[in-house]
Symmetry: C2
Subunit: 456 residues, 2 copies
């Protein structure tokens, strides 16, 4: 139910920048994981932090929900508007605000995408390594504490966001962090807002750490007789202190899917995609160590992807794992899982999960950011078959309980959104009251992205 005074005040706050057409609203309530999300009442397209602040002040005065939106590539219903309200689409906030090559930091508006940022950085010999696959916005990646294939070497958004500009639920503009590489000055508000999924304010600018492009990059593929051997070889690699940049696991089924879609021509075996960054001698040394470790676990010869175009093809295939998986069974829906466990438990977790899928008759290829202990299964199910849908959700719940029992987390990188609220409550049973107290203290009216993170 819209409210004409609220809409009139929004129009006054951002003349010409408010849309209420059905198509605008519909496309802003959904994400690939929640295709049936609910539409907001209106969508705003601001171009500056000050405009966002004006919009939020209007919503605060009218007690209407505010839902921040980047490109809508999140997976857990983060952009759905179950209570209506204003979607703030940040895509027109796409300016690189300040870039210092000497300091290796960059300040961007929240709507800049990671590919766009890397296009700007490349000529300066720099890059931003966090790569969730999708060409997400940096504001969205900060909001969901994103990571991806490079996290084993470069960490997640948690470690690479140095500061933020945030519009509070009251419509005030605040700055967190600083350009100093480290600080012990007060509560770490930056880390609090990173991963808060829009429930504490709207992130409008992000100050990021960037890195020199590696002198040398080498990528390789190695295949294993068993999944356990592949995972054990990763544990050994990390114990040898190899600063490997990417180490991605794909199970037999996922390899079958990727071979079919991308025509890579590998065997349908448990496989690791590897990437090494460093000086020439350092990369040679890393490769020699890893090759020896992996041979010891029955790994195949390395198949190199050394030319940039071969590397791109390899990682493109990896990033298309979701679509390749769907091709295994056209017309199916996908439930994507995202647990992360201590790496010593990863092989058990993956194998127990595979067994559970088999027992339930579910088709579910598996890919993993295995250096971090994080893996995704893509559970394919017929949307018109209630029993299969129930089995998919039951397998998901069993997987999360398995991961929690092993000391892990229900989400390594996708976040909670609407989809995992009950699992957050289980995982952080003792911490949840503190989280809710913080939410209430900073957003007493509960207007910021309501219905996310917490079930009540």
């Amino acid at each position: 139910m819209t409210d004409s005074r609220w809409l009139a005040d929004l129009d006054a706050a951002l003349p010409g920048g408010i849309r209420t057409s059905l198509s605008d609203r519909d496309q802003h309530g959904r994400d690939p994981g929640h295709p049936h999300g609910q539409a907001p009442d209106a969508v705003a397209y601001p171009t500056s932090s000050a405009e966002v602040a004006r919009l939020v002040r209007v919503c605060h005065a009218h007690r209407r929900p505010v839902i921040p939106y980047g490109v809508g590539s999140s997976l857990e219903g983060h952009v759905s508007a179950p209570h209506g309200g204003l979607c703030i689409d940040l895509s027109r906030m796409d300016r690189i605000v300040a870039l210092s090559a000497d300091d290796m930091d960059v300040r961007v508006q929240a709507g800049v995408t990671r590919e766009r940022l890397n296009d700007e950085l490349r000529p300066l010999g720099l890059f931003f390594p966090i790569d969730p696959g999708a060409n997400a916005t940096l504001g969205g990646m900060a909001s969901t504490r994103a990571s991806g294939t490079n996290a084993v070497r470069y960490g997640t958004m948690r470690g690479n966001v140095m500061g933020l500009t945030v519009v509070t639920p009251q419509g005030d503009l605040i700055q967190t962090g600083s350009r100093a590489r480290k600080s012990a000055a007060g509560y770490d508000l930056t880390a609090l807002y990173v991963g808060s999924e829009g429930t504490l304010g709207v992130i409008t600018e992000v100050l990021l750490r960037v890195y020199p492009l590696p002198q040398r990059i080498a990528a390789a593929v190695v295949q294993f007789p068993t999944l356990r051997a592949a995972v054990q070889s990763v544990i050994d690699t990390l114990a040898h202190s190899v600063p490997i940049a990417r180490i991605e696991l794909l199970d037999e089924l996922q390899m079958r899917a990727i071979n079919a879609r991308s025509h890579l021509g590998y065997a349908d075996l448990p496989t690791l995609f590897l990437e090494f960054h460093g000086g020439t001698a350092s990369v040679d040394e890393q490769v020699a160590t890893v090759r020896e470790v992996m041979e010891g676990h029955g790994g195949s010869d390395f198949v190199w992807a050394d030319r940039p175009e071969d590397r791109s093809r390899l990682w493109k295939a990896r990033h298309e794992a979701l679509w390749a998986g769907k091709d295994l069974r056209p017309g199916s829906d996908v439930l994507t899982t995202d647990v992360c466990v201590p790496i010593s438990r990863l092989a058990d977790c993956v194998l127990d999960t595979r067994e559970d899928f088999d027992r339930r008759g579910l088709l579910a290829p598996i890919v993993g950011h295995v250096g971090d202990g994080n893996f995704h299964s893509l559970i394919l199910f017929d949307p018109n078959d209630d029993r299969e849908r129930e089995q998919a959700h039951a397998a998901h719940e069993a997987l999360i309980l398995r991961a929690l029992d092993m000391g892990g987390t229900c989400t390594g990188e996708h976040g909670i959104g609407i989809g995992k609220r009950e699992f957050l409550a289980r995982e952080h049973a003792t911490g949840l009251p503190g989280m809710k107290a913080i939410k209430l203290a900073l957003d007493p009216l509960g207007i910021m992205n309501p219905g996310k993170l917490f079930a009540d």
Copy 2:
């Protein structure tokens, strides 16, 4: 003013573990930076999280302050008890709770010191790199977001604490984080408690990330004609993507002090102490790159400290910089500064600061974690000379304003405590209301380490 019912309840909560003698109380209110701190009313020596929870519940019921205490090596008055209350000395909580070599993580009670932890890790081929110099407790290091000489490579406590056990101000035990290497599950309470200086609860256990001991470690000393040349060579080194493990700057005055104390025999010139970690080929490659960079800035030949005992001697001398500085003028008090700035501004910041000290007639050697842009000046002043004391404090304030103007922070690693409350308010003027709202939400009675971080 003590309260006999409160003390009786404390005794009942921890029979035989409460001390109220003057000597116990006096030694728990002071730190090296605030030697005239105020004593608590009583000191408790618990051995478990459950005992801490019982003690805090008693203080909560009586509305009496709680001040957590490790070894008292903080520098900003963190352990002073301006409103009396109970000091909780965690030194008897010195158990390694769980250690996994495969996962490279360890859970320790808060009173375990970093040297003790490294003694436990070494036989397993592991180490914990964060090294603030003092043999601090890991609970204290987490509370103050400590770092030190290795941070340029391994980060600070911010990035290396994976989870915590905390006793809330209400006396509840909560768990934050998990053993997963990454998680996107809810607000990052771990990062909120790290650096909160005991104002939100008592950290009783710390889950830490540890690292494989480097295959090879090499340390070297290189001297420069000017301080600017030394700093510029560091910027170039970082731009070359060299994963250097330590890169410490000492100015002429600090070198004179260290040479006098530790008989190292170097010239009294701006100097870098370097350490390289990695595989043999990788270290060779790092050294070759850095040597070429530093020669280009007029650096001397490297003087190697390759044997473990030579390295220990070098870093011991570095860690004793404070005492060496004091030897320059026996009987003086020291005001230790801790700003951190973007590295492109570091040379200007240090040189402007040196000029300001000279103009004020202050003797103040400078040491810096230069890879992070963090440096300390040790301002020596006669405690009986009011004018000199005022000049020291005026120079400190000028330095902090200079650092903030450059986009930096008033404290890189020592924290706010009592000493820098007004500077926190300046640095985070827009963020301070949020910090205070969180404090009020989690500790509405204000019993946790009152008088720290915030002036009111």
